[in-house]
Symmetry: C2
Subunit: 148 residues, 2 copies
């Protein structure tokens, strides 16, 4: 399973003159089996549920490789913790983030994309990357907090 992702990672490793190792494979698997928006700590905990241990340092380093080869994108919300989301075969999106339960909803909007294009042209700005993050309360949390 996840053959395509493994292959991409393997080829990247090879093309960079790096080596395939057990810790790297363990971390890649943990990431591939994770849901979106996992932090380095999340991966560290997932990977170390079993007998053999992997250090924090290796998790950070390997997540960088996984990002560099295009399987993940690092996103930084404003709690100062880097999180990783899957990118293979997914289209670019933005986030609705619940500040109470930390649930993340992804969204895209053609209208917004068009407005952004116009804005870039008007300001003669060359896009590198962008983030649109909307923080608030999700439906479930709104109900629990009593905001109807």
């Amino acid at each position: 399973m996840r053959t395509e992702e493994r292959q991409i990672f393997g080829e990247y490793i090879k093309s960079e003159g790096l080596k395939e190792t057990a810790p790297r494979n363990r971390i890649l698997n943990a990431f591939l089996n994770s849901e979106d928006h996992v932090s380095a700590e999340d991966i560290y905990l997932l990977v170390n549920r079993g007998k053999r241990k992997v250090g924090f340092t290796t998790v950070y380093r390997t997540m960088k490789l996984i990002s560099d080869c295009g399987l993940a994108r690092e996103v930084m919300f404003d709690d100062g913790i880097a999180r990783f989301e899957h990118t293979l075969g997914r289209k670019h999106h933005h986030h609705l983030i619940c500040t109470r339960c930390r649930k993340v909803i992804e969204f895209t909007s053609k209208t917004m994309e068009d407005a952004e294009q116009a804005l870039l042209k008007k300001n003669e700005f060359e896009l590198q990357y962008h983030k649109y993050e909307i923080f608030g309360l999700c439906k479930a949390c709104r109900e629990q907090v009593g905001h109807k």
Copy 2:
């Protein structure tokens, strides 16, 4: 000058049972005379150009007071450095950020706001705050880098 801002700060200080001090006034002045998007370090340097010195700690603490009383908003781009922008009499906006020269252009867009409202309703999400940051190269940097 900046009477209104000073008054707002003074009243906030009083209403919270805090005290007016020289360091606080010096920091407030530095912020009021600064352009937008200054970091704590920027303020620290501005405030300490003269004879009497103010510590880093006090700058951080006072910038928090200035934010709490509504004169500033703390914004966090993704370089991990908190910056402060003026809020009095300014309307909410988003940012185009040049990754080369760090120039910041503010923008607003009715189209995007409307799209956001629709999105919030559709996801039954209650907005707390949001950020739309577009990173890239400004016109000047594009030319210097040779991207026509």
